[in-house]
């Protein structure tokens, strides 16, 4: 594998970590990769995005209903947050926490506003990760694993 390539991948990861997009959890996931599951992290991220889309949809709907059921919103967001935390999506988690605070305060405006941010962070991380994995794949079959070490 191209050393530069690997370096590039590592740099990208470093940058994501530094900027708070990802955290230690992501690193742990990478460490779980092995020969049996060389693309474990990528698979997990894919699963996450597939599932989270549904959760976000639920939240969107709940936000649209009147009157707003804050308890339900809180529950949905809680689920979403838990899921996000499992892949180490830090920034997304932060927005989730903020959102839940607004829920507790029954602040609809705050919820709507924060939700937009949640979606934004969620989408932006997706793009970055896609780039990251693409790079990893280009680097070779176990590029991801190597990059993680």
């Amino acid at each position: 594998m191209d050393k530069n390539h690997l370096q590039h991948q590592l740099d990208m990861k470093r940058s994501l970590l530094d900027q708070g997009y990802l955290d230690e959890q992501f690193i742990q996931l990478e460490e779980l990769e092995d020969d049996d599951n060389p693309n474990f992290v990528e698979e997990m991220v894919t699963t996450f995005y597939a599932n989270s889309a549904r959760l976000l949809q639920n939240i969107e709907q709940a936000l649209g209903s009147r009157p707003i059921d804050f308890t339900k919103l809180d529950n949905y967001m809680h689920q979403f947050k838990g899921s996000s935390s499992s892949i180490g999506a830090t920034r997304v988690q932060k927005e989730c926490t903020l959102f839940m605070e607004y829920c507790e305060a029954a602040n609809a405006e705050g919820c709507i506003r924060t939700f937009r941010q949640v979606k934004q962070e969620h989408a932006s991380l997706k793009t970055k990760l896609e780039d990251y994995f693409k790079l990893a794949r280009q680097g070779g079959p176990s590029a991801g694993g190597q990059a993680g070490r």
């Binding site: 996931l29 779980l32 499992s86 180490g88």
Partner: protein, 680 residues
């Protein structure tokens, strides 16, 4: 462990075969630890599985609580530890926790992204052995084996203590688990050394009745005898020594009885304490419906079956209960088993063993067929709701739809229909949230309102999902102070055990949740029937569950819904206690017996199975477990017949007592449980 040597009715809770050398290699421990992980989030679930595998554990993942319960029930000794998420759509993680604690007595670790103190505290009170905050790191998972070892160690210690303690009233048992925990667990995973010791001990002392005895499994029959003895002595005066003498069961030790008594008292206390929880009936009703049903589906099913079997519960009510209990996969359908209908439910004579198959049908056909005959399969959840409406004071039906363990107790209690019931509740309530509405003191309720009342309790607890819908008809019941837990206890409880009940801790988190689960036990009869049925089907996990249910039933006779997961013995007792007053004891004991038999003999699992089956069917077809577990769905041999406990007697007694059968609010805890036990 040595299998029961046929002494009396004491079955040795030996987990024969539980310890499979191949499962866990002691030398490599903790490698091979069998973990069951439950989480509705697919991402988390897969990640956890990966991490656990990295720790060299044998992992089984599951995304639904009901499926998890089924798995656990089917493979009693198949797992060493369970890790579960707190927030799950189909069932509250704490409820699952309670069920597991009651039925299988496995260590359970809760996890959540929520790290708020009160939630963590909830985990503690419900008996979780640990609480992990998401995202869970692998480091946190590496040491989970300690919980397994610790539990086993405690159990052994208990056993040792009980064995070595010859005389002297040992009311207090260090841990309830020892005797009541599923035998499976006991023998399941142990360090090889311990196991060997255990076996040696047992063998050595096999012939010594006072020395360490193999785990005693409180069969329904045994429990019935126990309750009868206690009633005879009077709950206040019931001391282990005398009870032992009265029971006259060879091989039973005073310690066994003491421990069992403790649990029984706890159970009763819990029942009486359940009512306290519910602050307002209204709320509880509404929520109860949903809640209860979901949680106790399994239990309800059991209860109803049992009750139905005994012929006490009106067919309809049973059906309702069942439907309620079973059909609550999402704990939402919360079909409140109308108390009124309960009578119908339980009236069927032919136990409907086929929970699996018939359940839906039974429930759907709300004909007032004598449920006693079988589980009224005609009642569908919807119907149940209707039945509920009709609210005929089943009185006896203590269908407590306590979805949540915690709540259940109150529900049951509330029914206070009959004093006897109240008593029972008191006794069991014990440690649990004494929510029982002074059921005891409400004679009026007994008439039938009890059934309704039960529902009320459930409602209060609805937060848990107890939803007692049933309350409706007997709205009068509703007025019961749900929070009169204490009253119940103080009522003329023949058992008078309320005060004494220290910890009839049903296993694990049972305490609170159990009550809620007891839902469907509209009255004693109902629950027993259910249990009986269940019992017949599969004795597995439900044992405790059923028992709990029964108690609920017995307690309030109608109301006891809650998750009386109290150890089977306790449950039965409950039912018995109530019967005491009116000679229902007999019946109760029958039921209890049925229940217990189901309970104790893991093979029997009828009661359980029934509950399960009911639940399964009603709740969720996806629950595969159910189908499997209900071996004779078609064969419905309904548990009743096997029980020969005179369920009918019990039922009738209960009914008579009640003056009406309170609709068994059977909270069948159908939610998620496709299996049978642990309601809610």
């Amino acid at each position: 462990m040595n299998p029961s040597n046929g002494k009396g009715s004491i079955a040795t809770a030996s987990s024969s075969g539980a310890w499979k050398v191949g499962d866990v290699v002691p030398d490599q421990f903790p490698a091979g630890l069998r973990v069951l992980v439950v989480d509705d989030d697919p991402t988390c679930l897969v990640i956890l599985e990966k991490m656990l595998r990295a720790c060299l554990y044998a992992v089984t993942k599951c995304n639904r609580a009901e499926i998890a319960l089924s798995l656990l029930r089917e493979n009693k000794n198949g797992f060493d530890i369970v890790i579960s998420d707190v927030h799950m759509p189909d069932m509250d993680g704490f409820k699952l926790l309670e069920h597991i604690g009651l039925e299988m007595d496995l260590p359970v670790i809760m996890m959540s992204a929520d790290d708020e103190k009160n939630v963590v505290m909830k985990g503690v009170t419900h008996g979780a052995c640990d609480y992990l905050i998401k995202p869970v790191r692998i480091e946190a998972l590496k040491n989970i084996w300690q919980h397994v070892v610790r539990k086993r160690k405690n159990e052994w210690k208990e056993l040792d203590q009980s064995g070595s303690l010859e005389d002297g009233d040992r009311q207090q048992k260090p841990s309830d688990e020892v005797e009541y925990s599923s035998s499976a667990n006991e023998g399941n995973w142990k360090s090889s050394k311990k196991r060997k010791d255990e076996e040696e001990d047992i063998e050595d002392r096999d012939d010594t009745s006072t020395l360490k005895k193999p785990r005693v499994v409180w069969s329904v029959e045994l429990h019935q005898q126990f309750v009868a003895a206690v009633n005879q002595l009077g709950i206040d005066k019931a001391v282990p020594k005398k009870i032992l003498e009265l029971m006259n069961v060879p091989g039973l030790t005073r310690e066994n009885v003491a421990s069992h008594l403790q649990k029984y008292r706890l159970y009763l206390r819990r029942l009486s304490g359940v009512s306290q929880h519910h602050s307002s009936l209204n709320n509880s009703f509404i929520s109860a419906q949903e809640a209860t049903f979901g949680s106790m589906s399994s239990l309800n099913g059991l209860d109803l079956q049992t009750l139905a079997v005994t012929g006490q519960l009106p067919a309809q009510s049973l059906a309702t209960l069942q439907a309620a209990g079973l059909g609550r996969p999402t704990a939402k359908s919360g079909i409140p088993m109308p108390l009124v209908d309960q009578r119908n439910l339980f009236s069927f004579e032919n136990p409907k063993p086929r929970f699996g198959e018939g359940q839906q049908q039974h429930l759907s056909s709300s004909k007032p067929v004598n449920l006693l005959h079988g589980i009224p399969t005609t009642m569908e959840p919807k119907q149940l709701a209707n039945l509920h409406q009709s609210a005929q004071p089943l009185g006896n039906m203590n269908v407590q739809v306590n979805a949540h363990g915690g709540h259940s107790s109150s529900l049951l209690m509330q029914m206070g229909q009959t004093q006897s019931r109240g008593q029972i509740l008191n006794e069991s309530a014990g440690s649990h949230v004494p929510r029982l509405p002074s059921s005891v003191g409400h004679p009026a309720i007994s008439n039938g309102i009890a059934g309704g009342v039960i529902g009320i309790n459930g409602i209060g607890d609805n937060s848990r999902g107890i939803g007692y819908n049933q309350v409706r008809p007997t709205s009068s019941m509703l007025s019961f102070p749900m929070n009169h837990t204490s009253e119940l206890a103080s009522n003329s409880f023949p058992l008078g055990s309320t005060p004494g009940i220290s910890n009839i801790t049903p296993k694990g988190a049972f305490q609170d949740e159990i009550n809620s689960e007891i839902k469907g036990s509209t009255g004693f009869g109902a629950s027993y029937d259910i249990f009986n049925d269940l019992h017949q089907q599969k004795s597995q996990n439900w044992e405790l569950h059923n028992v709990g249910l029964q108690f609920s039933a017995s307690q309030n006779a109608n109301r006891l819904q809650g998750n009386l997961d109290i150890s089977p013995s306790v449950l039965v007792r409950q039912g018995y206690s109530s019967s005491q007053t009116s000679g229902q004891n007999r019946n109760v004991s029958d039921i209890g017996r049925a229940v217990f038999s189901g309970v104790e003999s893991t093979q029997q699992g009828n009661t359980q199975i029934i509950g399960q089956q009911l639940n399964n069917f009603l709740v969720d077809n996806s629950v595969r477990v159910k189908a499997e577990s209900i071996p004779d769905a078609g064969s419905q041999s309904i548990l009743f017949p096997e029980n020969n406990f005179g369920q009918e007697d019990l039922m009738s007694a209960l009914l008579k007592q009640q003056g009406g059968i309170a609709p068994a609010e059977s909270e069948f805890d159908l939610d998620g449980y496709s299996i049978d036990n642990i309601p809610v």
